[in-house]
Symmetry: C2
Subunit: 185 residues, 2 copies
DNA sequence: CATCGATATGTACACTCGTACGCATGGGAT
DNA sequence: ATCCCATGCGTACGAGTGTACATATCGATG
């Protein structure tokens, strides 16, 4: 039974939590379900995460980090010649092209902040992180709006079960940018 | 005598469900909790709504209807001289000015469609309904984008616990409209 | 008036859940 | 070598849950 002293157990529980939420949704997340998924006893999950909220926070945070990496890797948002709208629309496309489960997972965790105040700081971090990535190329107002519109577009697709339309996204994201510099008129 | 043959029981259960979700969130919705809130026995809720999903669909639908009324009442979206962006920004402001619980409730029900396929048709109906209200004044693409951006702005506020900024909303909604007619360049 | 089906009600079952708690263990500090 | 305590583990308890079902009641239909 050499599972004594497992220094990565904390991390493995979080990974398991992500898989559980991906498969069964937040509603299906329990100390027991992640314990089973991580192949650790029940007492272990309650020890590392006293409360479910604590586990959720860790899970959301890790999920965010994964996304941030994709964002940083794929996007060349420092190149002044890049077409930001095209880049963002493409990014969304990639996102949707991958397993939809991943996107659902990210958004489910993100949206859970609506009812769980404990998650709000993490959600805010994510918002701000994405905004900051955009900042080198736009003003804060435009960046915020871009994030909001991307969220709205994604939700429209996910909630209604429709298809992602990259041309449409490119079009409307571009409109936000068109007047990003000369506000005030 | 008093509770036998209650023709409005169906409706009263839905009303109670709305109150329960408003107070405790969807996670707190159960046959028993709505039964208690509606002051009817447990068997009554299971009779009128065989499954919880069925009850959720009815609840979301009713919630949508309430919003549609506000929309139709306040908005003069047929007036060709009206400033749509201003009108929408004002509407959002009113929405946020009212009890935040109401907004949270609407969005929680709306977002629940992410994990509950049974709710998706209703979510889609709502999207389309709002889009159609906007249609007399814009093309379909712009209307969809306006809805998406409104959702995104609202979520940004609700999820991060921030404040609604009407001037900001007016600004960015206006950008979507600015090029609503002359797409193609 | 007699009957029937829709509606209403109470109860019971099997299950999952969060949490608490006692005990075992072994690494690192002393 | 010894002690301490963070970590790991199993179990038990009470609370809630969805659902099924047998029974009671009433409006309508013939």
């Amino acid at each position: 039974m050499p599972r004594r002293y497992d220094p990565e157990r904390h991390q493995r529980i979080i990974d398991a939590a992500i898989r559980v939420v991906g498969a069964k949704g937040i509603a299906g997340l329990s100390h027991r379900s992640v314990a089973a998924e991580a192949d650790v006893p029940l007492g272990s999950t309650t020890y590392h995460f006293k409360t479910l909220d604590e586990l959720l926070v860790a899970t959301l945070r890790q999920s965010n980090e994964g996304f941030a990496k994709v964002m940083a890797a794929g996007g060349a948002f420092e190149d002044p010649d890049a077409d930001i709208a095209a880049e963002l629309a493409r990014l969304l496309g990639e996102w949707f092209a991958g397993e939809r489960a991943g996107l659902e997972l990210e958004y489910e965790l993100y949206l859970a902040a609506l009812r769980r105040p404990a998650l709000r700081p993490v959600a805010a971090e994510w918002c701000q992180g994405l905004t900051e990535v955009l900042m080198p190329r736009t003003d804060p107002v435009t960046a915020r709006a871009l994030v909001a519109l991307m969220d709205g577009i994604s939700l429209e697709v996910l909630l209604t079960g429709g298809e992602y339309d990259e041309a449409y996204a490119y079009d409307v994201l571009g409109r936000l940018l068109a007047r990003g510099g000369d506000r005030g008129a």
